[in-house]
């Protein structure tokens, strides 16, 4: 029995941690990334956290901040410090000194890379956690999306691996800032591609992209296809960079010579492994890029990659999410919202109550208000910049919170939108119409009503404290509107009961408005 075995059987003996883990722990403790943490924290508070706090408290929307705002913050730091760590041996001219170590250069470099990566991804994870915890305290429906965090972490790993390899290949004091800025420029250009909606693979692969509609992930499942393809591509890029590090002799790797011969002498196992990692990485990256090129936009479920579903049809993925609406308001005019918007039920009911107190009992007045998905509303609503539309028998006001709420919600605008829509529908009629234009699709022609209708509409809105309906605001119309608004509520309502049919038919003139 050897001494080692005897020692191993002693009570309380702890098996020593593997060498790799111990070196990684040392690298983490001595990583220069610590210098970047205060700056990163300032950046996080300055923009991502501020933006997320201002957004409506919807999980899918606030989660976009993780990739659209915080991820680009982390990129220059992850790239810069990784390049810095990668260039360490070359910068200090210690290749000869380290040439006699028991482990190959690749192992050493991977430990250093892992130490830097741990800090980068920990910072990214911490930022995402803060955004999610903040959202959890106010969101009324749903849960934290995991895919943005996974895709962001893998993309950050790829950025770090690429920067580390560049640092190892071109060591020097200027490498870190140049690599950081270079990768920053690439990220910016990819972002431009993503927001330009060109549909190209670069735009699809960019983690940093456009803010999706507010209803995204609320009424219909959003496919994780884009995130999956991003993970495939960036995992490939990371592996490719790491494999390259192990192969290139410039960075202390085993060398390319005989890379494809598994039995070649001198570091054959290492060369085989590095070659396999490099080849696997390149294959994954090329595959991810190819998949991104097949992306198709769907109306309800975001971007779809048909090959990931084994079929070419896009509609099969558009699955509605079951929910029980939350309702408020009076029995005569219930207002129902998706539970994700529960915190806006009170302001919505207040807004509807004001306008319904003026219009109750008039023909064409809706009997209830119901929120629907933005994409379910007719195109005329979007074209007319309205929040919803009064339709059906009995009339129902169907609206979308996507249109009613701004990204940074404005309570006044939120209230006015509903009031304007309903008052316009009752007094004037439809929002307008889409007129086909040869060669350029449909053009929206708004129906703002004749001068008498505009005066009554704006007078009514003024009486309930809302902004005038967008359109003609000439002095005679404004004067008539002011007169109408100054009438007692009962008088105004009685006049509308008696004259609404004639007014709506266009038989009344401005001078006939009381």
């Amino acid at each position: 029995m050897t001494a080692a075995v005897v020692e191993g059987t002693r009570p309380g003996w702890r098996r020593p941690s593997p060498l790799f883990a111990r070196i990684v722990r040392m690298e983490i403790r001595h990583s220069t990334f610590v210098w970047g943490l205060p700056l990163l924290a300032v950046l996080f508070l300055f923009d991502p956290f501020r933006t997320a706090s201002a957004y409506p408290d919807l999980w899918p929307l606030r989660a976009t901040v993780v990739l659209n705002k915080f991820w680009p913050d982390c990129v220059p730091f992850a790239a810069g410090f990784s390049a810095w760590a990668g260039s360490r041996e070359g910068r200090r001219h210690v290749f000869d000194l380290l040439g006699t170590t028991a482990r190959p250069a690749w192992t050493r470099q991977l430990c250093s890379f892992a130490g830097t990566l741990a800090w980068g991804n920990a910072a990214f994870g911490a930022g995402a956690a803060v955004v999610y915890v903040k959202t959890a305290t106010s969101a009324t429906w749903g849960g934290p999306p995991i895919w943005p965090v996974v895709a962001g972490a893998v993309a950050l790993t790829a950025v770090s691996a690429l920067a580390f390899t560049l640092g190892a290949l071109f060591p020097g004091r200027f490498t870190a800032p140049i690599v950081a800025v270079g990768i920053m420029v690439v990220v910016l250009e990819a972002f431009r591609e993503a927001v330009s909606m060109s549909g190209g693979p670069v735009g699809v692969l960019s983690p940093d992209g456009a803010v999706p509609p507010m209803d995204s992930g609320i009424f219909y499942h959003v496919l994780p296809d884009v995130s999956i393809v991003q993970v495939i591509f960036f995992a490939g890029a990371a592996l490719g960079a790491i494999g390259l590090l192990g192969l290139t002799p410039r960075a202390g790797g085993v060398g390319w010579r005989g890379a494809l011969a598994a039995t070649s002498a001198g570091g054959a196992r290492l060369r085989t492994l590095a070659t396999a990692v490099f080849a696997g990485g390149v294959a994954l990256a090329v595959g991810g890029f190819g998949l991104a090129g097949t992306a198709q936009g769907t109306v309800l479920a975001g971007t779809q990659i048909p090959l990931l579903h084994g079929s070419g049809s896009g509609s099969s993925a558009e699955r509605p999410i079951p929910y029980t609406p939350v309702c408020g308001g009076s029995a005569s005019f219930p207002v129902c919202l998706h539970p994700a918007y529960r915190s806006y039920l009170g302001p919505a009911v207040k807004s509807f109550d004001l306008v319904m107190s003026e219009l109750a009992g008039l023909p064409g007045t809706p009997v209830r208000a119901t929120e629907v998905a933005g994409q379910a509303l007719p195109a005329i609503v979007l074209e007319g910049s309205a929040d919803g539309i009064v339709a059906g028998t009995p009339p129902v006001y169907e609206f979308s919170m996507d249109d009613a709420l701004a990204l940074v919600p404005d309570p006044a605008q939120f209230q006015d939108g509903f009031e304007q829509d309903i008052a316009h529908a009752v007094i004037v009629g439809p929002l307008g119409r889409l007129v086909p234009v040869p060669g350029s699709g449909d053009t929206f022609e708004p129906d703002t009503g004749n001068p008498a209708q505009q005066a009554v509409l704006n007078g009514l809105l003024r009486a309930i404290g809302s902004q005038p309906y967008p359109g003609n605001q000439s002095a005679p119309i404004a004067g008539a509107a002011a007169r109408f608004a100054a009438l007692p509520t009962a008088t105004r309502h009685a006049w509308l009961v008696a004259n609404l049919a004639a007014l709506k038919a266009g038989h009344l003139t401005l001078s006939q408005i009381p």
């Binding site: 220069t32 700056l39 300032v42 950046l43 220059p76 810069g80 004091r173 250009e189 431009r192």
Partner: protein
């Protein structure tokens, strides 16, 4: 030392210049050694690279948008130039260099100023080479914006070098650059985000120049931090 070496030294003594000339030669030699120890020639090459990138970005329309949004990419390039200047702050000799004489603060000051001038000049050259108003190819902020950003960012870098050491001073311009990018996109207009304000904004210029002056003065007098690792 061999006899031949000895003869060579003796010959050199015989042809030594006069006292005044000797002072100039020594000063030039000292300056050159200082510049080389800071890798200024490599920094100039990197700054020239920034100018080439600016030229390419302008010529090939690497960005979209107009007005302030069009300054996003030039600002990144200016930030890179400032980071390069900040990194030249590193002193490879460590603490002993501080005992070498009274010229060190002036050498630091002169090097930083010269590199800022070179950066502004090279970037202006890059922008001028791409200038084509008929094709709407020109630098939106003009040379004023380049000078303001390069000097302001470099000021941040020099201040950070006092804390982190010269080699990590690039983190300052980069962090500030990221803040300015967000300020630009989100139309923030706090005085401290001068880079996001128009190049003709007086408040922005004052802030940038104050930061640059503080950074330059502190850096010239104190020098970058010398860490135990030598970095």
């Amino acid at each position: 030392m061999s006899a031949a070496d000895s003869a060579s030294v003796t010959r050199a003594r015989h042809v030594a210049p006069s006292a005044a000339g000797s002072a100039w030669v020594a000063a030039t030699h000292l300056t050159w050694l200082h510049l080389r120890s800071r890798q200024v020639p490599a920094a100039l090459a990197a700054l020239a690279g920034c100018a080439v990138v600016l030229w390419a970005a302008l010529t090939y329309h690497w960005w979209h948008g107009a007005g302030q949004a069009a300054t996003e990419l030039p600002m990144i390039i200016e930030g890179c130039a400032a980071a390069i200047i900040a990194v030249t702050a590193h002193n490879p000799f460590g603490e002993p260099e501080r005992a070498t004489g009274r010229w060190l603060p002036f050498l630091r000051l002169g090097t930083a100023l010269a590199l800022c001038g070179a950066a502004v000049g090279l970037l202006a050259l890059g922008a001028a080479a791409a200038y084509d108003p008929q094709s709407r190819v020109y630098l939106g902020t003009g040379i004023l914006g380049v000078a303001e950003n390069v000097m302001g960012f470099a000021g941040v870098g020099l201040i950070v070098s006092l804390v982190t050491g010269g080699l990590l001073a690039w983190t300052g311009p980069l962090g500030y650059l990221a803040i300015s990018q967000f300020a630009l996109v989100a139309n923030y207009s706090e005085p401290l985000t001068w880079a996001a304000r128009p190049a003709t904004d007086r408040g922005g210029w004052i802030t940038a120049m104050v930061v640059f002056a503080i950074g330059l003065a502190a850096f010239a007098i104190r020098g970058p931090r010398v860490r135990p690792s030598g970095e």
